[in-house]
């Protein structure tokens, strides 16, 4: 395996392909970040460093409101989908029941269904129930596609749980709730945190489902940025986008770090 890795690194053609791929993936983002600091309103030529666009973005009340909405939606949907995901993941781990196989299939459904379809479905559903579109409907929409991820991660985490630990706890006099809180929850925690951060990431940058489920006054940051771009691409849009990228990247990095630590701290 190691020999193959060295071989790969030594092959210039393969390295060139890899470099081209990385440039294709990340250059647009780097350009966007760079030009958010460019001291020029129009041109795409570098004129000098400035944080003026960040100042403008942070003074744009509509943009700030959208950012605040994004945080509210992200917080709400993360908490709800984490709770639902824990319960579903645990149920799938622990119990055998009729229709379990179908339920497992259903869990993956929101993950694989095209987001546009999910958005349309939610819109039709809400209007059929005569629910006014608001932040609450956006949160509900986000929960729908986030909680399966949490459930899948929690369940995978619990697959490595020794059932004898639970029995040992009960044998030592702990009740069901104490056993859950003192023994199972600490084991699950890295999975829960990773799942919650993924839910947070998904919610923060979601556009499609939000587009269908948000009403007036419940615009989130991605929708707002899209709306701004339709008028003109100002450097303030670059600045706002950079902030959004930073937030999601931080959440994703934290999730990955937790998953890593989690695998290195197991008993042999």
């Amino acid at each position: 395996m190691i020999a193959r890795q060295i071989d790969f690194a030594a092959r210039r053609d393969l390295r060139a392909v890899l470099a081209a791929g990385l440039v294709f993936l990340y250059a647009p983002i780097l350009v966007l970040i760079a030009f958010s600091f460019n001291d020029s309103r129009r041109t795409v030529v570098w004129q000098g460093f400035t944080v003026e666009w960040y100042r403008q973005a942070f003074e744009d009340e509509a943009l700030l409101e959208a950012a605040l909405n994004s945080l509210i939606v992200a917080a709400g949907s993360t908490i709800l989908s984490t709770l639902l995901g824990i319960m579903l993941g645990l149920a799938l781990h622990r119990y055998r029941f009729r229709g379990k196989a179908s339920l497992e299939g259903l869990v993956y459904l929101p993950i694989v269904v095209p987001e546009v379809c999910l958005g349309v479905a939610l819109l039709v559903f809400f209007s059929a129930l005569d629910v006014t579109l608001s932040l609450a409907t956006v949160i509900a929409g986000h929960v729908v596609f986030s909680f399966p991820f949490v459930a899948v991660i929690v369940r995978a985490r619990m697959a490595g749980f020794d059932p004898a630990l639970e029995e040992a706890s009960r044998d030592l006099g702990a009740g069901t709730w104490q056993t859950f809180r003192c023994i199972m929850l600490p084991h699950m925690l890295p999975g829960i945190a990773a799942g919650a951060l993924i839910a947070l990431t998904l919610s923060l940058d979601d556009f499609v489902v939000t587009f269908f489920t948000s009403g007036p006054g419940s615009t989130t940051l991605p929708i707002k940025i899209y709306a701004m771009v339709r008028f003109s691409v100002t450097p303030a849009v670059n600045a706002a986008s950079t902030v959004l990228i930073l937030l999601t990247a931080l959440a994703a990095a934290a999730a990955m770090a937790l998953n890593r630590r989690d695998t290195t701290r197991e008993l042999p």
């Binding site: 020794d162 004898a164 706890s169 009960r170 044998d171 030592l172 003192c182 084991h187």
Partner: protein, 365 residues
């Protein structure tokens, strides 16, 4: 002595298969009791019934005079040591040992005192702040013991406690368990598939097969007086010959049963409980009770002539296998009592294997 555990007709089914089938036994207070049997005989299921992790489909289990039906594991006066040890990986050694006291609301100072005391008992002083991942297998075993003992249970249940250790450490932990048993004085019930573990540690052993108890007896009783063919073959080594009862004769030494068999010929053995009416019998003798001679021994001994086909050297003993004319074999265990390297027996030698009729086991099959 009063019975601390009283199992009556306990039955546990998994689907159509009865893992524990109408088992009755009683364990005396302060006894070291072993459940012994091959894998799948139901010994672990029986232990889990006693601990409360499984619910019996029939029969009853009483601990310390109280019926345990419907009593949750956390409310039973037993402590369990799991085969995998089941230490809580996110807690220190002290955290693991103190857990059972914390969840039942024991005062903090009392917890500290008892944890320290119990760690000293299992010789783990100074390890309180280690994490389980930093311990060796033997140390984890000691933590598991301390964690169960700190609650001062009436009964300690041990599920294959030595199976995860290597041979040297297993020997050491065996002594350790006997020492612990003596210092805490409570009842130990151990599940094992290893007969030498059961025989060397336990006061009494229940041998199980296919969910049933075959025999409950002290180790020497089990070895010298097995009550059936399964127990005789499961405990130690034995030479068994098929035969049938062919009458009873009165002799000076008492009544003797005459047994006829293909390999055995016609021999008279002490009655020791076997029925004269049983048509199918097995006649057995332990290898260490068999003597090998070049010349035919005197009249009293049961004898068979054969050719040496195999010599297995075990250090303290050598196992010599003779092939008889009819195809049957008989093994003799010779103690290597002196430092001679040549045993004086070679493959191909024709020898007489003989034993005292009193050492003969007669088993109904």
């Amino acid at each position: 002595m009063a019975a601390i555990i009283e199992v009556r007709d306990a039955t546990k089914r998994f689907g159509a298969h009865a893992a524990v089938d109408r088992v009755s036994l009683s364990v005396a207070e302060g006894e070291f009791f072993a459940l012994l049997g091959p894998s799948g005989c139901g010994k672990t299921t029986l232990l889990r019934l006693i601990a409360g992790f499984e619910t019996a489909d029939g029969g009853s289990i009483a601990i310390d005079g109280t019926d345990m039906t419907g009593v949750e594991p956390q409310d039973r006066p037993v402590g369990m040591v799991f085969q995998s040890y089941a230490l809580f990986p996110h807690m220190t050694v002290a955290g693991n040992v103190g857990y059972g006291l914390r969840v039942t609301g024991v005062a903090k100072s009392e917890i500290e005192r008892r944890v320290a005391e119990t760690l000293a008992l299992v010789k783990l002083d100074g390890y309180a702040e280690r994490m389980p991942a930093q311990l060796s297998g033997g140390q984890r075993q000691r933590v598991a013991l301390a964690r169960a003992l700190v609650k001062r249970p009436r009964v300690l249940l041990l599920d294959e406690p030595l199976s995860a250790l290597d041979a040297k450490l297993r020997e050491q932990m065996r002594h350790e368990l006997v020492r612990l048993k003596q210092s805490v004085g409570i009842t130990f019930v151990i599940v094992t598939h290893d007969q030498s573990e059961a025989l060397s540690m336990a006061d009494r052993v229940a041998v199980m097969e296919l969910g049933r108890v075959r025999q409950i007896a002290a180790p020497d009783e089990l070895y010298e007086h097995p009550n059936c063919r399964f127990v005789a073959e499961f405990i130690g080594r034995i030479n068994l010959f098929d035969g049938r009862a062919a009458g009873v004769v009165e002799e000076a030494g008492g009544r003797r049963l005459i047994v006829e068999g293909a390999a055995l010929g016609r021999v008279g053995v002490p009655m020791n409980g076997a029925s004269a009416a049983a048509s199918a019998l097995a006649v057995g003798v332990r290898p260490e009770k068999v003597r090998l001679d070049a010349a035919e021994p005197d009249d009293q001994r049961i004898r068979l002539q054969g050719r040496v086909v195999e010599i297995a050297y075990f250090g303290e003993t050598s196992q010599i296998m003779l092939a008889l004319d009819g195809g049957a074999t008989v093994s003799a265990a010779l103690t290597n009592a002196t430092r001679s390297v040549r045993p004086g027996v070679a493959v191909g030698d024709v020898l007489w294997a003989s034993w005292d009729p009193a050492d003969t086991l007669v088993l109904e099959t």
